[in-house]
Amino acid sequence: MYRYDQIDKDMLADRSEEFRGQVARRLAGELSEDQFKPLRLRNGLYLQLHAYMLRVAVPYGSLNPDQLRKLAWIGRTYDKGYGHFTTRTNLQFHWIKLADAPDILDALASVDMHAIQTSGNCIRNVTSDPYAGATSEEIDDPRVWAEAIRQWSTVHPEFNWLPRKFKIAVTASAKDRTAAKTHDIGLNLKRARDGVLGFEVMVGGGLGRLPHIAPTIRPFLPATRLFSYLEAILRVYNRHGRRDNIHKARIKILVAALGAEEFARQVEAEWEKVSVSADLPDTELARIRGAFAPKSFETLPAVSEAFEAAKLKTPAFARFARNNLKPHKAPGYAIVEIALKGIGDTPGDCTAEQMEVVADLAERFGQDDIRVTHEQNLVLPHVRLDDAPAVWTALAAAGLATPNMNLVSDIIACPGLDYCALANARSISVAQNIARTFADPERAELVGELKIKISGCINACGHHHVGHIGILGVDKKGEEFYQLTLGGSAAEDAGVGQALGPALPYDRVAEAVDTLVDVYLRERQGAERFLDTVRRTGVAPFKEAVYADVH
């Protein structure tokens, strides 16, 4: 993992000290709330319904055990003993006091972490593949590029006051685990026939009020030219983005208005003006790449006798292995997915004790490596199959072994009206109700892959537009109602879901999802996933069933 150098550490120390002064001036009345708000937001500090919320950046979702333990300590010391992992692979503390915030930033800085650029109209945390460095599918390690982008974009003077926030994803596999096509820029690493490394560049994706799937504006960009090209994209956006209308200020609106072809033409024209000196020197790339040098894996047989024996002996472990273990590039190893989606739990929440368990497991069995996924789960990317039973036992004791990865109860949900000042309706309790409806693991496995995503308002932090089943909370005369969409996807087959029909009241949502699943089980052909069936049949049979008794 990349380690901060002295320049990085000094910058964080300065920034923390600066914020301490700003908080003191606010409390003393020397700064008004209007003056202070943009300053605290630049340090990831929001004021929400019940308290301040601190959003901590987890760069490309990568953590080491010391960092996770520090997050646990902060949760226990300054919050109510837990944190909430988000769809941007960040961690939010929901019960923070303003007066404590500078001390928390110091604590974060002690483990090379911060909350800079987790808010504001700047380049936000880069998303990358949680399986990076572990999957045989990848063309190159996307973290190398994500880290380079992090360094380039951190307090970048030209791009720190963009028309609106800006999100970049880097993926390197055919299977997209980053939701790249819903980002402002999605970068997909490719290798040309002659072996040259490059990127497919997709620009103008985004969710929110007006969802867009990013079109490809350049099928292959030599990797050595990435930063000059990014600069050209950002310059075109900075020049023409709609600063006059917050709802039209994202780059997706500009790309859609110009058309992908014309936008690409303007980027290429701008790119010609950008010097190659804007690109990353080979030596610097090599330095960063060195931080992600391939782990040394033991030479192991592909089949582990201990692993196979444990599966035979313990059906619960066998179920966990079926759903939560993924193939690793090294024989005898597995990628272990840890669901933060226990039945009835809050999606993405992790207690301080659970964080410490995961940190310990990463240290003992996982080469000190922990990942956060945009689906609000954790990953131990390098676990020996021989050790998987012990890892499972420890996870189960901590309530972290729910065997539901990618199944119906592995639900994305934003904090919603329970915490968020922007929300119109709750998300968490809707997710809890659905998960309880599908608590039977046999049935969940029978249903197979089904991605439900819930947002408590149109800002779409819960990615509802791209859920196989999307659920959007709306406010109808003060009551919570929910609009359902079907057929969306955030993966390589990305698409925006289609509305099912009129919004449903709160207490009908879980029942409606149950009905949708019944229709799928009736209609599916062969090995079709829920998404495949919806895309083949359209929403009509689903709509008919859900609204059959509503009149």
């Binding site: 606010r26 319904l49 109510k80 003060g478």
Partner: protein, 119 residues
């Protein structure tokens, strides 16, 4: 009836106005009749306390189980705490918490709408 609410600056805690002071529990809040100018007067005084609270506003109330509760669901969540965990203000329990839990929603509070318009 109406009550005056805000978030306390130093810790973000939801607070309610009571005769010139801020209290943590909705049950202790001062209530103002809809046509009582004292409500707007208190709001004006609250706005002159920028080092004490952030964004004070009046909320509409309705009767629930013989007690008063905020009309809007959002305001009831602010007064109680989140519904997914029992560790907000609701942890104290009691009749007033139950009345808030059992209240039924209607429109958003007018104060909140004013805030949205201002932004």
């Amino acid at each position: 009836m109406k009550a005056l609410t805000a978030n306390r600056l130093i810790d973000g805690e939801v607070v309610f106005w009571r005769q010139g002071q801020w209290v943590d529990q909705f049950a202790e809040a001062e209530l103002f009749a809809d046509d009582d100018p004292a409500g707007e007067g208190a709001e004006g005084r609250a706005k002159s306390q920028p080092t004490v609270v952030v964004e004070p506003y009046l909320i509409d109330l309705t009767q629930s189980e013989g007690l008063w509760a905020p009309v809007s669901y959002r305001e009831r969540i602010r007064a109680l705490g989140p519904t997914n965990l029992n560790h907000g203000k609701q942890a104290e329990g009691g009749a007033s918490v139950e009345a808030l839990r059992n209240a039924h929603g209607a429109a958003r509070s007018t104060g909140r709408v004013d805030l949205i318009k201002r932004k």
